[in-house]
Symmetry: C2
Subunit: 426 residues, 2 copies
Amino acid sequence: MKLFHADIIAVGSELLLGGRVDSNSVFVAHLLAECGIEVRKKISVGDQKDDIQEALRGSLKRAHVIVLTGGLGSTLDDCTREAVAETLRCPLIKRKRAYENLKACYRRFGRPVTPILAKQAFLPSGATMLANTEGTASGFLMRQGQTVIVVLPGVPREAKVMMIDQVQPKLRKMFKSKRHYWLHTFHTFGLPETEVQKQLSPVLRDDGPIQFGLLASPRGVTVTVSCWMFSDSQSFVKERSPFFPEWADLVRQVRECIGPWLFAEGERTMEEIVGEVLRGLSWTVAVAESCTGGLVAHRLTGVPGSSLYVDRGVVSYSNEAKQEFVGVPALTLRRYGAVSSQVALAMAKGIRMRSRVNVGVGVTGIAGPGGGTLNKPVGLVYGAIDGPQGPRWYRWQFHGDRADITLKTSQAVLDLIRRYANEAQF
Amino acid sequence: MKLFHADIIAVGSELLLGGRVDSNSVFVAHLLAECGIEVRKKISVGDQKDDIQEALRGSLKRAHVIVLTGGLGSTLDDCTREAVAETLRCPLIKRKRAYENLKACYRRFGRPVTPILAKQAFLPSGATMLANTEGTASGFLMRQGQTVIVVLPGVPREAKVMMIDQVQPKLRKMFKSKRHYWLHTFHTFGLPETEVQKQLSPVLRDDGPIQFGLLASPRGVTVTVSCWMFSDSQSFVKERSPFFPEWADLVRQVRECIGPWLFAEGERTMEEIVGEVLRGLSWTVAVAESCTGGLVAHRLTGVPGSSLYVDRGVVSYSNEAKQEFVGVPALTLRRYGAVSSQVALAMAKGIRMRSRVNVGVGVTGIAGPGGGTLNKPVGLVYGAIDGPQGPRWYRWQFHGDRADITLKTSQAVLDLIRRYANEAQF
């Protein structure tokens, strides 16, 4: 069985020093994987023709498919089509259909097709034109020996539509790859990367086709399980289970290994899961935040439909706000300090009572970089929750800069709500 | 004069199919440019040793500097150090200093250094160790012929500090590049990209060494002006003006072209600028948010030291919250609806009075995707401010998904505070 590999070459000087990253390659790689073609290398080069050609020559040595994106426009620095034509020694020829599309496009903008703009209708001789239904520059596809070269515009929407409507069907027909890509993502919170790995040890294998990936971020550790599998059956691709029961088993095993630290799978986020659990219980929630400054409320309300269960939030940054808006007693603040379990609890209880919601949440801590002391260092956070099962409080010590600490805190607080609500369900 | 070129190789299978993009290369490219070294190619490869080696061999043929990031950790798939050691034929040797750092690091986490973790203290023989002050895995730097190879951990914070503190001084000394990179960034808000381009038309040139770049995002349109110039003078590098007065002139011209839409330059963010203006006036602020759900407060409090001027915030998602916490009259809500200039104004005035701050801000709108009507479509937002110069209100119509609309709204509200406070200054 044959393995097919692809390289993606993104063209544009703004990708090198302009602060922009090549995000087109994310969907291009997935759309290639759907055709059984695995991306092995992504390359970004500037608008210099030499650099594009050098990258292209390198990829021609080993890739079955090369996808180039960007540099097809009409400005002076766009030269991808010239670079490809010269490398493959095919002269550029004006294509009637491409030119008609160009004219129709500019007619809509009320502009004539000047000679400079007409550049976009030139394709290397022998290339198959890829019509641009969303914009001006036509793409193209051509063969060189065993390699298929696909050239797409840099505008994400244009490239995506071209890839799905025209390139995928062609690649499927050309390669007839029997290889299929499987991917499952697990999102965990509360364990460091090495501990997650330990949890997974019963299923982790270094051999075989299954790939495990661990990725740590302030939102937690994400586990991806992926594999490339051969199969002749077409129903395999569609149903994704009957011919590969081991995959379903594996997903189940991973889920069990991670246990209570697993909060979501696939594309789901923590705030979506929290919303789902709250909606399931018909619970409402209100949040009193100090160090997170509104991030918990913002994430909760970032979910469409969250107005059903989010009642309100208070960012009680000053001590006055904690007293007036949340009802934290002045004595508690004086005796224990603003960053204490007592204040976190008073915030949770106060916001719950004042908002008449099912669950009240309080969080107070030191986000840094200033404000830390020996007893209360930067990153110390107290979180509390009050609801039908009574009050709870937690103490965390987070590390990182201000943005890290607030993001980790918001994730911990949301996870707290999730676990508290889950308990009530069972 | 010699031109020095660099390639950046980012290692990690998650960069190929995991949906993650290589963002480290953005700051690595800039820090290299500061040393007069221009990035010509960025490459992402997976965790396969063969692929890392193939990329490394390719870059060794032409780059003066190769920076590899990622794959230095302790998990099974981390193999960058092995790939580099094998390519350069230098055995991996345990380094005492790296091991001590590792031990100290894990001691803080209360964990012993197991043999698997100890991997992170092994470096190729002959390599210069790059101490990791922020995490566990040491980086390293080594020469191969005319090429300098720099290997950094994948964690952005660790890589950045290592790059600035240790790699930059070494590269400056090694290459003594006479080429200098000039970059100036202008952040605008309130104009679409094409309008910003129109504003810039007096200074836009297509020839010459100056490069212009426009980048649109929900935070506004960013204009970058950059160029590479040769200079022998050291003071040129430090003072950035006497030997290139045209640059200072150009920056001034661009600034004038953009006019009142310019809110920040360089690395500054809108929230930092707002904080600066408020501190300058010794003003305090309180925010009542509906559709942004806490994002305005979170962005304001994301600035270190913001507790000096942020008093509190209220996320009044429900109508009850708007009445109880901000004092919006029930009649106003009934008569005009929650999304109205009247309610935005009442929120601004209410939060200002109740918090006894200088400036009160209110924002209410429809973030979508649901909740829109013919008269009040998704993306309709009212913002209001009340302060020493009296009340003001604004109406915006934003486009995009929920996250776009809330981010644009937060930016518009912060810009509103900035402009209001600026007025008071003059």
